[in-house]
Symmetry: C2
Subunit: 874 residues, 2 copies
């Protein structure tokens, strides 16, 4: 049997959205519900994919199907396509599986031509309406199908209006409209070299192709990328018989929501225009009426619409976003869909739907997109002000929220000026020494670095807005200016950045503070009741940990001990350790660090109040702790009382060709076991101290990073265990502790059965595992990934959205092998993917025990984990 | 049932070498054959492992077993351990599964003490013999068990000899020997604080422990690492009743081979000493007799020995290396084993054994170690001269052979001075610009870089000797000197390096040229008949390819196109391409490269005479083609007619944090498809031209590197295929070609089922795959791998010996997935592992079609492939 590529609205239903797209499926559903829907048919998403497979052509059998379905539609409507005596006009509109408002194309009034127009005038006695419809069609066809510039048409309309001394299109009369038609046809011929197509079938096929094509236009591509919609889904095309809101003053068109999309308040919310068509409402040509005014203007129509709206909301059990048209006093429904809404509104509606008994808590949870929570947890731009602004550049949306502040180019300057008002820290890339400046800034903007660069990771940890890897920004550090395109911004001047979109603006855009409501707490509570996957946080400091606990973190999945090493009062000891020539010197330096590390752990244990805490041993290559410029080396050498040459020598020796794959992680502990021993001592001593001081029963989890081989883990574990046992004995205490490893090297995943012999827990370090599995470094991939997106080789940044197909296979393998050796092995994720909803769903399905993410993503992970459990209970 | 840790010689046989070690198994076998073997027992390798598992102690049950077996031995010999009236003395000797001559420890005459010595004097009436035996025992026990310095003992013997005016130990009389015993006991007491142990049981247990311990001594560890012997094997210990070659002038001891180990000539070959024991023969104390002289001195013993030797060779079907002792005119066999031999000898013996009908071709093939072939393919040091020299440093044995030459520190200097005589090029590390200097040098020595560094790879390709990563060498480029330890070597002074051992010497050591004999050809012919795995070569130039064909390469598995880019007449166009700002500029530069690349491929196709040729598209990051120092940048900018700033800008932009994981491989082709198009055109045009000129039917194989995702491969493949089809059409020719990919990114292996949809062949790039799977870069791993070897975390360099457990799992997975999608997919390996015998065996077992390695390793791979097929036919 050949594939069925077309469905009448009477053949479909709401469950067929994959095939028919959202619009098509809902038009079918409304038809089934007996609502007044102008009939039509849907060309499926499979036909769209076929179009691309066939080298962007419509296969002959689909063309003849379209013609056959037009014949069926003629039968249903009793009208004839292209027949002036009783003409059938149609709209041709895109409709993908996921709603992508405004991203693709629409053509109205298709089927009109010179002859049909004449016939319509005869039939309707309304030449103005007919010429208006015709000129609209020419405009849309020229724009959408032929890609002629829209503005040329609008300019001419403006000329005519000026000439006629009127303000609105609606004030143009029959003759004006006729003149527009004539002019547009001439313009078309001039530009295209042929007459405007008069054959309705050609109009139709070209329009269908144009809609298919629009699936691949740049704005659709970027919308999809932002919203995680695969390009393989394709769009459906809906061919629907026209009803006319522009027939006259008893006609109109509008859009409405069943609840307020900004607040969630239960109240019909929307607007409409009389004597108008399609785009007019949103185009702002005239000020539209609010939907309430319809009750005054056409009370019966309003009542009918209200009833339909209520019925639809009850039917879909969700807030609906509807389009309608009134043709000569009769209401038609053109679309319904679950309405887009703000996060606050989403939470309100979810709670209200449950209160109203319209749906269960689980159903309500699914109505809140976890990604949206970012906007209730972080400041956002004032919406009106944002609309008026245009971005000058776009970087990576590295840490959500909006920020506006005076620009400074060094961490010190940012810190200094933050006392006087909000600042933005703008850097080529950040490094650990910038921490204080980063903490002082409202937002961070970097020219280099990806989603897991230093700036991005630290900013997410702090909940500070960050746009990273914005290559269009060129900093002149000496001149204290930045250049972006033709603009130059001086130190102290204002910029605004949006860490949720990656947009960068010059000047001030006012922000609105984060707002956590009771609805948020209610929904999060439900989510916690449902989910099986636990949620921990990545936190290196007491404040981060405290913030995460407030956001519901159930423990710490990753404490990076090296972040503590950069503090002003510690770095000297760290450097002393690095330049040590003997084990004794090194141990002396480490002894200075011990009390500081112990103090850190004590404060973190306390703030976590007995929740599990996983501490990772030192991970980065040692050269990260030393300066690299001769001047700074000379300064430091003086401070340290060693010669420049000696220090320079150490710096040179520590240099690596590929630091990412160099002397770091547990490799440091193999070379310098005394470092691991000091850290183990600090972790254990801190736990003993806190257990003595408090009622908590701290059971530290010591995590050994970058393991690739069982014997390597065993070696470092032996150092840790030996130290721990000694410390416990010295203290005369009892203490449980666990030793485990990160799985972040492909070989560790491949040999997880052996690794599990030594590891009590695995924590998947998905950042590094992604780098190694893909074979590209997050610091360098920014150079070539844009082309990968452009050619659709990748549709997502694998550092933001977990790669289930490749890296996921390693994770599943490691879970399986690890459990084979040690059935009760504890399994978690501590890469930044732990805060990405689709990744969380994968980890739930893979059977992990927990995910760990930065504090501000904890609520997102909690909600995503609930979604995962509801979709696939375990 | 408890484990049996001890075996009498009468309980074992030759097949039990895993348990009894080679020596123990062969002593048992000789016992079974009725040969005169002093009886004894073997403590198994399992007991050794148990010793290490138990924290370096001998378990009580094993101790009591040893005592029980001593009792059995007493029964067999009719003597009593520690009983002066009829004393049993024993030797305690190591014996691992693989023979490790001289690596571990031996103790003779154990069981002697003051009382036993007295008894022996009474029994033998030979006090000189008894005191000689006793002093020897004290020496060996002190050295081996107590680690007292051997030299202290020797010094004292020399003093006594001087005092007595004699030259040889044998000239010392009864009183001298007694004096030695007394002195040694005093010395022992002084050093150890206790008397020399008189209890034979204590002597025995300590000796057994010492032998176990010697398994882990540094020289054994380094021997094992060099010979691929896992530390998990352990050593057995043989306790054997003593026979005495030092009884008097009718006694003696010797070693002999059934054939000449240097030439393979069939002739008893060996030497012996009368009135001597154990080490004396090899210690060179007196000039030993040749084995022929035994026929004169003791004709009956000679005849018996000759018969036994023949019988042993026939029995083991291989050349035997035997130890024997004559005690008062009676012959005893102490050891037999397959003799170590030179490569030339191994080949001769293999051929002879077949000619003599002693074994089949397949058996003979297995007697030649593929690794040994290196020494017939490359120059070697003169053995006598080498013995007299001592290395000043040791680096990685990166490319085999020996070289001696005047040292130069730049490629230009090396090239210049090579006209006047042999030179060694010594560099921190080499880069592609050094090619000509490398080609001119006899040998290459680098301070940095691993087994797959540029120097190593290129040297192996050229067959030039190379020692890489020799960190002990410190170069002062300005002063044109190098420092190694306390030595300073100036430019022009001579050094010698051994690329088979990694040893570095100051001064001249004469070399002997490579010698390929008829036996080599014979054995290689047999290997080719047997093997199923095909052998290709990695070759980038016509001479390399020609060399490989001579060595039996059946095709090229890897042509790196970038090596061609570095030629003096090409690099300008390459650089022009890199600094291009537009596609047009880039295409213009590429057009200049096209004829050169085409010419390269034509000459390679011709020399390969129709054998398959796989060409890899451009792989390295573009910054490799640009200078990095300001001065060089300024020079180049001038030459190119662009500003310094512009070129510096390009260099800076191309800089990468982790170049290994950066913008390289097919990622370049995604960004600049025009590069791939130019290369595809050159490959195809060259094939068409050669096919027209010759009778060959060239079917080029175009290989896309660094693929991690199916769509990425498809994108580049589309560029290649489109170009190829266009070129073929333009030429009006017919041409078959294949497009495939390297599997060198873990994700490619994990998603090989999808990749195989687009790839006609896979070539495993095991160098990069190893780097990514282990997560360490070959350029940086040198810093921490030494500790990994020291702690036995790794026993081999995974870049030299393929990691079957981790990386191997990915290869097997990719083979399975690839064949699932495309059952006839062609599978090969082009990493340097293709020339490593144990790795070749893995690839054979994994079912690959071919391996590809550098030209000089082709014979090794051919032989290794035959070994693999014989061991595991497929």
């Amino acid at each position: 049997m050949s594939t069925k590529y077309l469905y009448l609205f009477t053949e479909g239903n709401a469950d067929m959205r994959e095939l028919l797209g959202g619009k098509g499926a809902n038009l079918a559903e409304m038809t089934n519900l007996g609502m007044p829907v102008p009939q039509g048919f849907t060309i499926t998403t499979e036909a769209c994919n076929r179009y691309y497979d066939d080298g962007r052509t419509i296969a002959p059998e689909i063309e003849s199907d379209i013609i056959a379905y037009m014949a069926k539609l003629e039968e249903i409507t009793g009208k004839k396509f292209g027949n002036p005596d009783n003409p059938l006009l149609v709209s041709v509109r895109s409709g993908a599986r996921a709603s992508m408002p405004g991203m693709m194309d629409t053509i109205l009034n298709l089927g009109i031509n010179d002859v049909v127009a004449e016939g319509m005038i005869t039939l309707t006695k309304n030449p103005r309406f007919v010429y208006d419809s015709y000129r609209r069609f020419i405009q849309m066809f020229s724009d959408v199908v032929m890609e002629l510039p829209k503005s040329d048409f609008e300019k001419y309309i403006d000329e005519v209006k000026a000439e006629r001394g009127v303000k609105y299109d609606a004030e143009l009369d029959e003759n004006d409209m006729k003149r527009l038609v004539e002019h547009f046809k001439e313009y078309y011929k001039e530009k295209m070299g042929v007459d405007f197509p008069q054959d309705p079938k050609i109009q139709l096929m070209e329009a269908v192709k144009a809609v298919f094509r629009s699936w691949d236009n740049p704005r659709a591509n970027s919308y999809r990328k932002m919203n995680d919609i695969p390009s393989s889904w394709g769009t459906a095309v809906n061919v629907q018989s026209m009803v006319f809101g522009n027939w006259g003053d008893d006609s109109g068109t509008g859009v409405a929501f069943t609840r307020d999309p900004a607040t969630g308040e239960k109240n019909l919310f929307g607007e409409f225009l009389m004597n108008a068509q399609g785009e007019d409402v949103v185009a702002g040509i005239r000020t539209p009426h609010t939907i309430d005014q319809l009750a005054e203007i056409m009370p019966d129509v309003y009542k009918e619409f209200k009833e339909i709206a209520d019925k639809l909301e009850n039917h879909y059990k969700d807030m609906q976003d509807m389009e309608f048209t009134i043709e000569r006093g009769k209401l038609y429904m053109l679309q319904t869909r679950n309405g887009k809404r703000t996060a606050a509104s989403a939470l309100r509606i979810a709670v209200a739907l449950v209160e109203e008994g319209l749906c269960t808590r689980e159903e309500a949870i699914l109505k809140v997109d976890p990604k949206q929570l970012d906007s209730v947890l972080h400041p956002q731009f004032n919406e009106a002000a944002l609309k008026a602004a245009s971005p000058v550049a776009n970087g990576l949306a590295a840490s959500p929220g909006a920020a506006c502040g005076a620009v400074y180019f060094t961490a010190d300057d940012a810190k200094e000026h933050a006392k006087g008002g909000p600042v933005l820290l703008v850097r080529l890339e950040t490094s650990p020494e910038d921490i204080e400046g980063m903490a002082a800034a409202e937002g961070i903007l970097t020219c280099r670095g990806g989603m897991t660069s230093h700036a991005a990771v630290v900013a997410r940890g702090m909940g500070t807005c960050c746009v990273s890897g914005c290559g269009a920004i060129i900093i002149d550090e000496e001149a204290k200016t930045l250049r972006v395109g033709d603009h130059v911004v001086r130190e102290g001047e204002f910029m605004s950045i949006d860490g949720s979109t990656g947009n960068v603006y010059i000047g001030k855009i006012p922000t609105e503070p984060a707002r956590i409501t009771g609805d948020f707490e209610t929904v999060m509570g439900w989510a916690d009741d449902v989910r099986k996957l636990r949620v921990r946080t990545n936190a290196d400091t007491e404040p981060d940990a405290a913030q995460a606990v407030k956001f519901g973190a159930e423990g710490i999945g990753l404490t990076r001990t090296e972040h503590m090493f950069f503090d002003e009062d510690r770095i000297p000891a760290v450097r002393e350790m690095i330049v040590s020539k003997t084990k004794e010197q090194r141990e002396k330096a480490l002894a200075k660090l011990l009390p500081m590390q112990r103090g850190d752990f004590e404060s973190i244990y306390k703030v976590m109040e007995g929740r599990p805490v996983t501490v990772r041993l030192l991970d980065p290559p040692l050269h990260e702790f030393l300066p690299h410029e001769d001047e700074a080396i000379a300064d430091l050498a003086k401070t340290m009382g060693i010669s420049f040459d000696e220090l320079k020598d150490t710096v040179t020796q520590l240099q690596e060709v590929n630091p990412m794959m160099g002397h770091r992680g547990c490799r440091l502990a193999v070379t310098y076991p005394e470092i691991a021993a000091m850290q183990a001592r600090a972790i254990i001593e801190a736990a003993i101290n806190v257990n003595r001081e408090t009622d908590y029963n701290i059971v530290p989890e010591i995590m050994i990073p970058l393991v690739g081989e069982e014997k390597e883990l065993k070696f470092v574990k032996d150092v840790v265990v030996e130290t721990a046992e000694k410390v416990i004995k010295e203290a005369g205490a009892e203490l449980k502790y666990h030793v485990g490893t990160m799985i972040e090297i492909p070989r560790a995943a491949l040999t997880a059965d052996k690794i599990a012999k030594e590891a009590e827990f695995f924590s998947f370090g998905t950042n590094d595992l992604t780098q190694m599995t893909f074979g590209f470094s997050r610091d360098d991939a920014g150079k070539f990934l844009p082309e990968y997106y452009e050619h659709k080789i990748f549709e997502n940044d694998p550092f933001a959205k977990f790669d289930q197909e490749g890296v996921g296979k390693l994770v599943k393998l490691a879970v399986e092998l690890g459990r084979k050796t040690r059935p009760d092995i504890h399994l978690g994720v501590c890469g930044e993917h732990g805060g990405d909803p689709s990744s969380v769903e994968f980890f739930h399905n893979a059977g992990l025990d927990y995910v760990s993410c930065s504090p501000f993503r904890v609520p997102i992970a909690r909600l995503a984990a609930a979604h995962a459990q509801i979709k696939n209970p375990r």
